[in-house]
Symmetry: C2
Subunit: 337 residues, 2 copies
């Protein structure tokens, strides 16, 4: 069977997705009898469009010059063309406006309105308009999957399928690699916040404007998605009590260290409340992870804690999560052998 893909966004994640599909194409054809055809790739200023399938190697080889390819259409937008595309699955990888969720939100709604299934690495739409998206998908009989939005490739959402005989009660997680890197450095080296932030920026872990990470908004968006998807809640980012890490001093870290604790920037979903804030945890807790890793602890009713850990960011990491979602939809749509 053949599945037609519309990819929106050709940044790090979108390009990694094309790379991964290009690598895995033959394997999937042999193993699953599934042919993945990318028929459109949208950027903010136009799109590559080829009804019978874009040659991915050609696009990847062109690198940043992909706009010179003969099937580049200038000044067309995803929103305007989605009704005409006739694709099976829309992959949304644009960067998000954390206030409005746009342009991803409109892309997702437009795709669902035209009976495309949706796979997204773009968080914003889901922490701002979760219910709207899920209800629309249900109404139109579409799948919408977004594993890549939380802890990237770590199957933090998919795992609920493996726990349906149990019951997940609450979630504690570290969902932002940048703030965890900063706290880890402050704890290990005794440096102050500004120095640790500078180091994170030099290593490329923190953006030049690190507000979303260090003030907890990024983690807040992710805990909303986790709670809605895994616990069945209906929250938005406005429901999260958020406190950042910029006021934490080396002195505070030292103080708790002598009692066997560390300070971590936790995202918590418990008792119908969402919180992102610095918390003390035992230094032997599995949540005490160093560096830029993400960790998610699911407290279950019948089996204590189940913990997942892994890289929370990275192009190929997110792309592999997108591809998992794509295959899962293909399987449910019976595209797979």
């Amino acid at each position: 069977m053949r599945v037609k893909i519309c990819l929106i966004g050709k940044g790090t994640v979108g390009t990694s997705f094309l790379k991964l599909v290009n690598i895995k194409k033959e394997e999937f054809e042999q193993k699953f009898n599934l042919e993945i055809i990318v028929t459109s790739i949208f950027e903010h200023d136009g799109a590559l469009i080829k009804e019978n399938g874009i040659n991915l190697k050609e696009v990847l080889d062109a690198e940043t010059n992909f706009r010179n390819l003969p099937y580049w259409k200038k000044n067309v937008s995803a929103k305007e063309l989605i009704p005409t595309l006739n694709a099976n699955i829309c992959i949304e990888t644009t960067p998000t406006n954390s206030k409005t969720g746009e342009p991803g939100l409109s892309h997702i709604i437009e795709a669902l309105n035209h009976n495309m299934d949706v796979v997204s690495s773009n968080k914003g739409p889901f922490y701002i308009e979760y219910e709207k998206i899920i209800n629309l998908a249900e109404k139109n009989g579409c799948f919408v999957k977004y594993e890549a939005t939380v802890a990237s490739c770590v199957p933090s959402l998919g795992i609920k399928e493996n726990l349906i005989g149990n019951e997940i009660l609450s979630i504690k997680a570290i969902l932002n690699g940048t703030s965890n890197f900063i706290l880890s450095r402050m704890t290990a080296e005794g440096v102050n916040f500004s120095l640790a932030l500078k180091e994170a920026q030099e290593l490329g872990y923190a953006e030049s404007d690190p507000t979303l990470d260090i003030e907890g908004f990024d983690a807040a968006g992710k805990i909303v998605i986790l709670a809605n998807d895994i616990l069945g809640w209906s929250k938005s980012i406005h429901d999260v009590k958020i406190e950042g890490i910029s006021k934490i001093t080396p002195h505070a870290i030292d103080l708790v260290k002598s009692d066997g604790f560390v300070i971590k920037h936790l995202a918590i979903a418990e008792d119908n409340e969402l919180v992102v804030e610095p918390r003390l945890i035992d230094k032997h807790s599995p949540l005490n992870i160093a560096g830029t890793l993400n960790v998610i602890e699911l407290e279950t009713k019948y089996a204590g804690s189940i913990i997942l850990m892994g890289r929370g960011a990275g192009g190929l990491e997110a792309a592999s999560a997108l591809l998992n979602d794509l295959l899962s939809i293909a399987k449910q749509r019976k595209f797979l052998r």
Copy 2:
């Protein structure tokens, strides 16, 4: 829809399974339109049998006196009655003989031969005759699931479905809570092996004959199952290079500690080789877990390590894994709404 269950083994895991089904029965009827009916419960010396469904509360209330219930049939065996049972799913929870896999192996084969799907918490059959079981299941169009055999409720096998867009290259794991408890105590308190073992026995973590745990056979069986299921290998426990932990001294632990390492009893599947042996790991490694927890590190091609952690033992823990497998089969058989 109605699913008829034959339960074999009414020890800790079997009884916990009955408890959990009894608790979740109504929820499943409402949520999934699935009615779980247990029609037979086998022990080594007979069985409770009721074609229209056993009252689970009655059996649980009877505790160890269940043999006094009017529908107890003395001296009947699972192997002999399976052909007559007409059940949909056989749940195998008997203790295993680690040399032969019996009696579980015969139960599983007999069930598959009579077109029952199988869910097992019994490891032996799978580390001794993996291929035979899987091939028979495939030939007869049956499902066979065994999440509970490795790290209990931690979805170490089920997670592969969430990683099909990626590629799992190798596995490093701590799969035996007893030996990990002993090493953790030796590391934290500087006590010797015998004392730590005695403590584990007093706390009920180690059996009076702890050989299978401390000599690595239990972990070896589990890494065989993980490698076969997740990496697609075809190994048996005879293919594992096994070394136990009984020769490790406090001196050795101290020596490596000063260089920032700890000694852990790792089970490894890598480069077509299976090994269970004491290994040095960095003290900051996510594999450095204390106590009786289990941990599994999956090295993936496109997203680095993905790590799973949780309780590796316990009645309700294993029962919840059995129930997950049962629901997953019910879903694939379209018993679920």
